[in-house]
């Protein structure tokens, strides 16, 4: 046997083509089978459209169409009203694998979650042999470019097969048409779920979906406000890897270690830079370009030892409780749920990456009572539809005993069953997925912790609701007793005896023996010049556009049915997005979370009406008062809970 030499081996060593690369990795890229491929194709397109629109402050209007030419082949169309793509970039973006703009930026975006739109073009080409068509318009008064594209798989370059211009009604936008082999029958449920879920966490987007049979679903826009723009941030020292550290140093313009650390990383002030350098036992004046691997290692180690401030979190763009609630309400309106609860945690970090957890819970109505709860998982506003079992969100839900909260669960562990939908949304500059297929969030203890805390808030609110329901019933009974039955007893007895009807006030007080709190919420449509929103995160664009808005008016009636005068503090929770308008009587405090009143000496059998108005909300956003009392025995009060502090 002759010896095989390196030269022999070299004959077989060549750059592998993108086609081969794709073929080998297609399962982790989301094209493992023809069902998945359909969803992935749509997802890549829609995610890009949403990202692009948001980037230029356009409310996304997205159109998705699947037409089923012949068995096994679908033509997928994704169209948006975004900024479009400049002509010379089109062939790179759609005809070259791994050509993106978001790969290096540290900010919250959807793009991170897929391999990119060109992979869809490639998949289509490999499976159907057909070319993709891209139409793009970037300026109102210019024609749209139409490109027919193929990919040269050996060179990983686009081939422009045909190029024309056309008139397009839109001011700007992008339309992609790709033929792919896809199992529409089995994949359609996922596509629908994906679009519906996407619409829930992107209330500012309008998504229209046309199926092969012509059926059209419209997932309506429920918010006219674009999400806060996520900002790009520098990497945080805690999360950096040695190799990346060295690479950043190579590209840095800084000549000194101290300025390098200060400018290339977040949370590095002068003081922290000094401490890091001391810890690493390195001169602050070292030129990063001259540093050895060992010196970088010392810095890398020092990063881990020194206490460094958390990264800024304003780079995140959470959805917000009001919008989550509004969207869930809109999408579940056919189920007519009993209540919808939301919770939002403050931003936190894991290994230097900022993240934030939001949760929602839909309960009751026509939801099935005896199957497992539905879990909707989202990462940076992108629904995660596969690998639910391996996701940290599922684990967090399973670790809580839900039996006290109206759900069933064997031995208090595992996915509960009952009429509920759980929603978990994680926003982060870096979502730690369990694998390249990016369908499940990895087991990171800081994240699990935050999810659990968010779920606990939900659970507490559920309990609050259950109590409220019981209390409402009791309250209704008592009210019926004093307003109807007792007067009727008095009437009947006096009529039989031919005597005057006695006054019942004292007896009513004696029977009730509580402070009674009842509330009412009304919505009033108003002209925009009647109200001037002061400051709000939800700029009411609709109001500006259409000249009408909604004022949420809440009336709280407090009646003292105790024998003695009562004096206490009353709190009402308000959504953070709301702007407080008129309040009566004068409150002692208005914070962004609550309004507080000091109720002085309400005489026995007397009543106080509290009224406040909220602007900046849609009708139904605020549909329930959470009322609390302080400095009064809670058992004296019906209709409010004890205030437990801020």
């Amino acid at each position: 046997m002759s010896k095989i030499t390196a030269l022999d081996l070299a004959k077989n060593q060549k750059e592998i083509s993108v086609a081969e690369f794709f073929e080998r990795n297609k399962h982790i890229l989301g094209f493992g089978n023809s069902t998945r491929a359909l969803l992935t194709s749509i997802k890549e397109g829609v995610d890009n459209s949403l990202d692009a629109c948001e980037e230029v402050n356009i409310l996304p209007d997205i159109y998705v169409e699947i037409s089923n030419h012949e068995d096994g082949e679908c033509r997928v169309i994704i169209e948006d009203n975004g900024p479009g793509v400049v002509k010379k970039q089109i062939k790179h973006i759609f005809g070259r694998l791994l050509y993106g703009s978001r790969f290096h930026a540290i900010r919250q975006s959807r793009g991170q979650q897929g391999i990119g739109i060109s992979a869809v073009v490639l998949y289509g080409q490999l499976t159907t042999g057909k070319h993709a068509t891209v139409i793009s318009k970037i300026q109102e008064d210019r024609p749209a470019a139409v490109l027919e594209l193929a990919i040269d798989t050996n060179k990983n370059r686009a081939e422009v097969i045909n190029q024309t211009i056309t008139h397009w009604d839109k001011p700007s936008g992008t339309r992609v048409e790709i033929s792919i082999i896809a199992d529409y029958k089995r994949g359609k449920r996922f596509v629908y779920d994906y679009l519906q879920s996407t619409s829930i966490v992107n209330p500012h987007a309008q998504i229209t979906y046309k199926e092969p049979d012509g059926a059209i679903h419209v997932f309506e826009r429920t918010s006219e406000v674009l999400p806060r723009k996520s900002v790009e941030i520098k990497p945080h020292p805690y999360g950096i890897e040695l190799g990346t550290l060295i690479k950043i140093a190579k590209n840095s313009k800084s000549r000194k270690l101290s300025s390098f650390l200060k400018t290339e990383f977040s949370s590095m002030g002068d003081r922290t830079v000094n401490v890091v350098c001391e810890e690493a036992q390195l001169e602050k004046n070292l030129n990063p370009k001259d540093m050895t691997r060992n010196e970088f290692l010392a810095i890398h180690k020092a990063f881990k030892k020194v206490k460094i401030m958390s990264p800024p979190t304003d780079c995140l763009s959470p959805i917000g409780e009001t919008l989550i609630k509004r969207s869930l309400k809109h999408e579940t309106r056919e189920i007519s749920p009993e209540f919808i609860i939301t919770a939002s945690r403050p931003a936190a970090t894991y290994s230097g990456n900022p993240f934030q957890i939001e949760a929602g819970l839909v309960y009751g109505g026509n939801l099935p009572k005896d199957s497992s709860v539905k879990i909707m998982r989202f990462a940076n506003r992108v629904p995660l539809l596969y690998q639910q079992g391996g996701c940290i969100t599922t684990e967090a839900i399973s670790s809580i005993d839900w039996r006290r909260y109206g759900l069933e669960q064997k031995s208090g562990k595992g996915i509960p069953s009952g009429p509920a939908i759980f929603l978990i949304h994680m926003s982060s500059t870096q979502i730690p997925f369990t694998s390249e297929s990016k369908e499940a969030i990895a087991d990171v203890s800081e994240i699990e912790n935050e999810i659990r805390l968010a779920l606990r808030i939900c659970a507490r609110k559920v309990q609050h609701h259950i109590h409220k329901k019981v209390r409402r019933k009791k309250t209704k009974e008592k009210f019926e007793l004093i307003t109807k039955i007792l007067p009727e007893i008095a009437n009947k007895s006096s009529k039989m005896l031919n005597k005057p009807v006695p006054s019942l006030e004292a007896i009513i007080t004696e029977i009730m023996d509580v402070v009674w709190i009842e509330d009412l919420i009304e919505y009033e449509k108003v002209k925009s010049n009647d109200v001037k929103p002061v400051q709000t995160t939800l700029i009411d664009e609709k109001m500006e556009k259409h000249g009408v808005g909604v004022i949420t008016k809440s009336t709280i009636m407090v009646v003292n049915y105790k024998r003695k005068p009562q004096k206490f503090n009353l709190y009402v929770l308000i959504p953070e997005d709301a702007v407080v308008g008129m309040v009566e009587p004068k409150p002692v405090k208005i914070s962004d979370k609550y309004i507080k009143w000091n109720l002085d000496d309400i005489p026995s059998a007397d009543k106080v009406d509290i009224i406040f108005e909220l602007a900046g909300l849609e009708e139904g956003d605020f549909d329930e008062n959470d009322i609390y009392t302080e400095d009064i025995n809670p058992s004296f009060v019906i209709g409010a809970d004890k205030w437990e502090g801020d």
Partner: protein, 365 residues
């Protein structure tokens, strides 16, 4: 004969006054009445029957349920007062339907309205006849050598002989059996036999047991109506004729005997009007199941539950009942009167009843 209702009106008004006075004090209005349950009945030595004890419950307007009851009470007493005024009467069922118009005070089932009518009897110590209320159920049937004089609707007195003047189904006991309505003119019999089921009553009629054994046969129709019990009691007391009770062999039948003999729990406030303390249980006893080798059924779970409950019922505390109930629980079986047909249609009249009645000393050999 016109009955004087002024006392009834006074008592009814006193209920309204109690509520009205409470409201005026002011105090949360309430009414007290004895607890009407097994745990609150006591044997009255003087009357020889079971009556309510001293446990009271309070119906107070403090709770919604209590207030509802008070409101219904007000509606009912007002209704009764109206009926007395316009000289009408109504059945319990009619009153239930009339309550449909009582707005918040309306009843959800007839059982509720019946119970409240009984409550009113208890509170006022009146009888529901005083309230112009009558049951809708028709009375039971009687066959035997006795003559009844009944006041007919057109106010004529009519004599009825309960063998010669009636058909095979016998004389039907009316709902009013007080002396203003019926009287016993002549009775010639050695004992009264109260029978639970119609089938057995008809068997005894066909076999002429009433003539061959000088018996008065009364069909109880299950749990006997007040008028049936009152009728038997009057025959027993006025003519001094002993009463025996012949039922199926199961816990429900034992309760039929108890209500006839000791007084029923629901009507313990008027036990002295209704119960016949000297009546005796003839059978079918659990011992009979064994002695006569009768065909049986297995006791259901409800049967066992009510047998056990009877073991703690103060009315079943004598040795006879304790032994029989325990025996039945041990056998785990129950049987019916008509199971005696196993030995032929005449067996009950030729063998079983003569044997049992001899044992009880009702007939001599």
């Amino acid at each position: 004969m016109v009955k004087d209702y002024s006392n009834v009106i006074k008592k009814i008004d006193s209920i309204a006054s109690k509520i009205y006075d409470d409201l005026q004090k002011p105090e949360i209005p309430y009414l007290n009445l004895p607890t009407r349950s097994k745990s609150n009945i006591q044997f009255d030595e003087k009357l020889n029957v079971w009556k309510y004890g001293s446990n009271q419950i309070e119906r107070s307007a403090k709770s919604l349920d209590g207030a509802m009851m008070l409101l219904r009470t007000m509606y009912m007493v007002d209704f009764i007062k109206q009926m007395i005024k316009v000289k009408k009467s109504s059945t319990l069922r009619e009153m239930y339907y009339i309550s449909e118009g009582w707005d918040l005070g309306k009843f959800h089932s007839q059982n509720e309205s019946n119970l409240l009518a009984e409550d009113l009897e208890v509170i006022t110590s009146c009888m529901r006849e005083d309230f112009k209320l009558r049951p809708e159920e028709d009375g039971a049937r009687v066959i035997g050598n006795l003559t009844i004089e009944e006041l007919t609707r057109n106010n004529r007195k009519k004599k009825i002989h309960c063998q010669d003047d009636v058909g095979d189904s016998g004389y039907t006991i009316p709902y009013n059996v007080e002396s203003e309505k019926i009287n016993f003119k002549s009775i010639d019999a050695d004992f009264i036999i109260a029978i639970e089921t119609g089938g057995m009553f008809d068997r005894l009629v066909e076999n002429r047991f009433d003539t061959s054994y000088r018996a008065i046969l009364v069909h109880l129709k299950g749990q006997p109506a007040r008028s049936t019990r009152r009728f038997i009691k009057r025959m027993n007391e006025e003519s001094n004729i002993p009463v025996v009770v012949f039922t199926d062999c199961d816990p429900w039948s034992f309760r039929i005997f108890a209500s006839l003999s000791y007084g029923a729990i629901k009507t313990a406030h008027i036990s002295e009007y209704l119960a016949t303390p000297s009546s005796q249980f003839l059978g079918v006893t659990p011992s009979d199941i064994e002695n006569y080798k009768l065909p049986t059924d297995v006791l259901s779970r409800e049967d066992i539950k009510s047998l056990k409950s009877e073991l703690t019922d103060p009315r079943f505390q004598d040795q006879f009942w304790k032994n029989e109930i325990k025996l039945q629980l041990k056998l785990g079986k129950k049987s019916e009167q008509q199971a005696l047909a196993k030995y032929g249609l005449d067996y009950v009249t030729d063998t079983y009843l003569p044997e049992k009645l001899t044992e009880m000393g009702m007939i001599k050999k």
